[in-house]
Amino acid sequence: MIHLDIHKVLHGSQGEMNLDVKLEIQKGEFIALMGESGSGKTTLLRILAGLEKAEGKIEVENVFWMGEKKMLACQERQIGFVFQDYALFENMTVEQNLLFVKDDKALALKLLALTELNELASRNVKSLSGGQKQRVSLCRAMMNKPKLLLMDEPLSSLDAKMRVKLQNEIVKLHKEFGTTTIMVSHDTEASYTLADRILVLDQGKVIKDGAKDKILQKVTTTTYSL
């Protein structure tokens, strides 16, 4: 179980804005975090990861990551983070990117097999396509068996075919490891396919929170809207 009560003043393009988020997240839940650009989605993810400071508390499985006086360093939070721009270590091969997180070759090979990347294990990441890079980034994020997997628009820079492929792999990994996941996304279809719960953020406040069927309306057989 994760308890959040986060407050931070953000200085955006539209002036000052208060990010106020109070949430409870069940273990193993998959949350899609939606909302317009500048609503505070990425900042919330970065605060959870320990990459930005804020006020309030974050309690994960009875351990305070952020409290009144305590701030657990991001190195100690056991977080998996998938960046929009992949952020792979460009001086390393695919396999080295994974092993840099944890020296567990069996797990690395298992993750690469699950995402059909085993043949690319010894390739330098610079030579990969965008879709392949994002799959490596996903595998790397799973290497420390994270308590919380955070994904910042992981599908946004991919074409439609690659988006579907990565979606399927995210589903596979979530089934295999059952990791509590928060994914920032603008993509209603992907959010419906992947998430159990949808949160909508507006001007730093949660304005909608519920099961995906309650938050997203079916427009056609494959498209959804908020």
Binding site: E76, F83, A87, F89, N91, F100, V101, K126
Partner: protein
């Protein structure tokens, strides 16, 4: 017969200076690349000072600070028995000041150009700042690193004003190649001066060409 002593001394001075400056400049350039502190422009200006100051000004102040009559020079002489003026050690100290910006600035630019998310990914992987600098940041700024090392080395080989003021011209101790050329011209040994100067020109050209070839190759690898 050409006396290679001054050249060997120049290379020794440049090698030691480059090594010491790498150790000093690495944390400094990393700090400057990551900080948003108000002290940043002050530190940057101080680091860049040797580029704009006349070598005689820099040499004069270093000479004052290192002389046995000053607090710093006196401290080293009394405590360790080390003389810092007109000695090779003094030349190394002076060269470290003189060549500091040539090591710091390429490293800082390289670190600043790195994808910040890549560094954050390393922290999230549980790595410390030191591990991140060593295993992620430095290998990803190879062209900047090579530029910093080679330009610092070449610049130290070519320094003259500061070396002459702080070291004088003691054969085998402080008489480096640039000082030897100056002395040859003074006594009108133009033939010898030509040979020494031509070696310096050729060497500097080769060093710069090596840097440009390396960086060009790195760019090609990046594109592929």
């Amino acid at each position: 017969m050409i006396d290679l002593g001054p050249f060997l001394l120049s290379f020794k001075l440049a090698g030691v200076t480059t090594l010491i400056l790498f150790v000093i400049a690495l944390p400094l350039s990393w700090y400057l690349s990551q900080t948003e502190s108000r002290s940043k422009p002050v530190l940057e200006a101080l680091t860049a000072l040797p580029i704009v100051l006349p070598p005689s000004v820099l040499g004069f102040y270093i000479l004052i600070v290192l002389s046995p009559n000053s607090a710093v020079g006196g401290f080293f002489e009394d405590l360790f028995g080390v003389k810092l003026v007109f000695t090779f050690t003094g030349l190394v100290v002076a060269s470290c000041f003189y060549s500091l910006p040539f090591m710091v600035q390429p490293l800082q630019s390289g670190f600043e150009a790195l994808n910040k998310h890549m560094l954050e990914a390393s922290y999230l992987a549980g790595k410390s700042k030191l591990q991140t600098v060593w295993y992620v940041a430095l290998p990803n700024i190879k062209p900047s690193l090579i530029t910093a090392l080679i330009i610092t080395f070449a610049h130290t080989v070519g320094e003259f004003g500061v070396v002459l003021m702080v070291g004088g011209s003691i054969p085998g101790e402080t008489k480096v190649a640039s000082v030897a050329i100056y002395e040859m011209v003074e006594v009108m040994e133009y033939g010898q001066a030509h040979i020494y100067s031509a070696i310096m020109v050729l060497m500097s050209f080769m060093v710069l060409m090596a840097v440009y070839i390396f960086n060009h190759k790195q760019k090609k690898i990046g594109i592929l």
